[in-house]
Symmetry: C2
Subunit: 365 residues, 2 copies
């Protein structure tokens, strides 16, 4: 077994895990279905009570005219950008170099739509107002991801967001929100989802990040936009005869967790604080603005895996199931707080960080 | 309430329905999940035991090197045609004018891939060997749908199929099988799925037609083909973090119904025989070659709806929930036999067809 497998196996053996809502297994679906007795009918190709009710609920929550349930955010966001490009008659959008569309979708936007992105900012920082002003002509749509996941989940000041929105509105540039983790940032901004979404022409949200559902996404905007998006959903093969397994679980876990986002944020700040007290470890951001952050460790990956496995075995508490190498001498991983953090015995957590700090000190020596 | 709604409402009130496997409701999912106790882990972005086991099982069943689970056939088939076009460096495929890609996908193949189809045969008949020979140069892939659903589920002779396959193989034209209803035709051809699939380079099968699952499809072929298809699946946003609700139900209902296809076929022939004995009603094909056929009725749609509602109310047996107008004086609908046919009391069924025949005679007078 290689080191990677050893770490994930040791992690799975722990009694408590610091992050997440638990194992992604079929019990997640069974729990959501428990509330649905009787013979509630399936949605059929985008129609029917089960899908229409949820779309209406999410449109209201996001303060948009209409909303469409999609099997995935990948599908929903490519479609959003295509629609805005078609409206402007151009094939250019702008987003961050670590945007999901740029690094996780096998060039889908380019291969399927021949849309070329302008990459704003650089990989290490957020898009700023100046980046937007200087992005050049001919951009149909700017996509902003809140929070910017690949740099630890960072957020611009709300005033910056308002300024970007006003500028785009003035220039006729559509503004699209990659809100994969929108629910998770509401406590930090102290805004409602609708208040934030009002700054954007179209919005995507996900139900398997902080919400902890199975899969699925909502794309919201005005009625003309959502109507077009349904045509594209059919073209993509996303207009499934039945999406209800995802819709039921999205709705169930939305109701279960939407009011826990403030708690997750507080717990993320607490946990990040513990990491930042350890030698050779820091978090990005230093103070989380959502339920997520990245942990940066000044230690070679293999050495750190052995240290973690030892801690897991001695405390029964797991921090992460993987580490990713940055350079030969450092590694990092991502944390997203969910229901599991609250279950950890405090004395156990203190012990974990004592052991971690001591091990890191030994590496330095 | 308009006539359409009256018919579907009356149909839903019946105790027995002649076609299908029952209402598409959440109990379909709950039944499939009942076998899965414990903590079986989700598939994660196309990996994991739950998806890999099913893909392997279906690859073996179809006699192909490899298989990939897709959320939909729309997605799977566009991708298959794109891959074959890329291999040949052309943008032309051939299929029937009533092919799913031509009439049910909002021009997805053209809008997403700029692939132009050559339409073979005409809307009223099957593609013949001569159509293939005369289709012209530059076609990367020929798609054959077995059975051809939109003309009642018709099939070419097996010898014709072999001749088309041999011709395409010789000419270097890829042959793709739209096997949405492949399982359903095995009893007629008296062939295994693998024997039929051997004639094709790539194959798609569906799990919510005769199998009666929730949604989902398998695309099978050689390993180079399936590897490419996974890249496109990611591009489409079809590589969901979890597809297990569809996989579990596909597997469960495949096991439950795959051996019932011969029975469904026999029952379809019996039912078609009953229709063909009625005045002014005929089926296409006259003798079904699968579990499906179309019912053609020489009566205006509205009049026929009233007749059917009367029959449903008096017998408690429902034939169909909809009728589609052909011309002012005729209408038709589609029948697919499933588990429900066997539950109907024989004397009730006889009564239904007596009433139907008498009503049709009165229309004539």
């Amino acid at each position: 077994m290689n080191e990677n497998n050893r770490l994930i196996e040791a992690f799975k053996q722990t009694n408590y895990q610091v992050a997440g809502n638990g194992i992604r297994d079929i019990q997640v679906l069974k729990e959501a279905l428990r509330n649905y007795e009787g013979h509630q009918e399936s949605d059929i190709y985008g129609k029917g009570k089960i899908i229409e009710d949820f779309q209406k609920k999410m449109a209201e929550y996001l303060g948009k005219e209409d909303a469409v349930f999609f099997p995935s955010g990948t599908m929903a966001q490519q479609i959003a950008l295509r629609i805005w490009c078609d409206h402007e008659g151009v094939s250019k959008v702008a987003y961050h170099p670590l945007c999901h569309l740029e690094i996780h979708e096998e060039e889908g936007l380019k291969e399927l739509h021949h849309i070329e992105p302008v990459l704003l900012a650089d990989k290490s920082r957020l898009i700023q107002f100046e980046d937007v002003v200087n992005m050049g002509e001919g951009v149909a749509c700017l996509l902003l991801e809140l929070p910017q996941r690949e740099i630890g989940g960072q957020l611009p000041d709300y005033q910056m967001l308002e300024a970007i929105s006003a500028y785009c509105h003035e220039k006729g540039i559509k503004l699209h929100l990659d809100g994969a983790r929108l629910f998770e940032i509401l406590p930090y901004y102290k805004k409602s989802a609708a208040e934030i979404c009002e700054l954007f022409d179209s919005v995507y949200v996900s139900f398997y990040k902080g919400i902890g559902g199975i899969a699925g996404a909502i794309l919201a905007g005005d009625k003309g936009f959502t109507k077009e998006s349904k045509v594209w959903k059919r073209r993509y093969g996303g207009d499934l005869i039945s999406l209800y397994p995802y819709i039921i679980s999205a709705d169930y876990y939305f109701n279960k967790r939407i009011n826990k986002m403030k708690m997750y944020h507080e717990e993320a700040k607490e946990l990040a604080g513990l990491f930042n007290q350890c030698h050779g470890i820091s978090t990005k951001p230093v103070e989380p603005v959502s339920n997520m952050f990245h942990v940066y460790i000044n230690s070679p990956k293999e050495k750190m895996e052995s240290i973690l496995i030892d801690i897991y075995e001695k405390t029964g508490i797991g921090l992460t199931g993987y580490l990713r190498e940055i350079e030969a001498e450092a590694c990092f991983y991502e944390v997203s707080i969910g229901d599991q953090f609250g279950n950890i015995p405090k004395e156990g957590l203190i012990k974990v960080f004592q052991m971690l700090d001591e091990s890191m000190k030994k590496i330095k020596e």
